[in-house]
Subunit: 144 residues, 2 copies
Amino acid sequence: MSISSRFAVGIHILALIELNKEGVTSSEFIAKSVNTNPAVIRKLMGMLKKAGLIEVNPGIAGAKLAKELSSITLFDVYKAVNVVHEKELFSIHESSHPDCLVGRNIQNTIEPLFTAAQLAMEKVLKNVTLEDVVKDIATKENNC
Amino acid sequence: MSISSRFAVGIHILALIELNKEGVTSSEFIAKSVNTNPAVIRKLMGMLKKAGLIEVNPGIAGAKLAKELSSITLFDVYKAVNVVHEKELFSIHESSHPDCLVGRNIQNTIEPLFTAAQLAMEKVLKNVTLEDVVKDIATKENNC
DNA sequence: AAACTTGTAATCAAAACAATTACATGATAA
DNA sequence: TTATCATGTAATTGTTTTGATTACAAGTTT
């Protein structure tokens, strides 16, 4: 199992809006870069808009960032596109048997451990901004 | 999207084998505690056996731990039941357009970030042993 | 009014899961 | 030996999630 590529595509969208800020970044333009369907992009743009990361309006072509590039973290995108819910990176088998010592306690024992692991992962995402991503893209390009 | 409950059930199985070490821990016995089908348990037991965590033989009822409880980490179980592959906790959209600055670089930029996040999560799992889990189950039981 | 955009719903195929059934194979006790 | 019970494993099924696609309403611009 894998965390949905919506997350990677969400980052792609935001980086593209930034790097194309002189131009008009429509859903069709983005869709070509991502190589997918414009409706997929519009769905994601709706999520990014709802999370306050971009500005986009019906009928008006193009999206703009709603915040400073350096103030958007990967965690913001991760939450915006809703790939993993709180405390639900790991799923816990729900219906253990209450008559069994292990069955009736395993869930409460495991849950905080799983949550801690998830938080450690999310902390890494909080420490990377879209500015880092965009700069890295530029660096990679210049070294080619 | 969530990481398969195979992981939680794998931990359950090992804890149960330990806490029932005086008795015979058959797939049917485990299945009752987990409240699922014995064939599901046998599949998981096969994975745990392949990973060298338990000993179990065809025709002979019951499984035993193959290692010290304190030397089995949650990460060992996580790898054994194969819920997440290396560097694949996050999926990356594969077919970005190479003619676009962002499209041709985003994948290489994002990949190490995703890997770092995954490793942070896995590090937490490496620092918890099944002994911790079993002790916690006992503690919870005594406080009821 | 025509052409273009975003917003959104409905549909579809593919993949992953977990549950279930079935049965071959191995071990053990009557 | 035969009956019984265990593990090992394959096939099937219903459910859920994804991502792609089509379609169209509603807003904007020329």
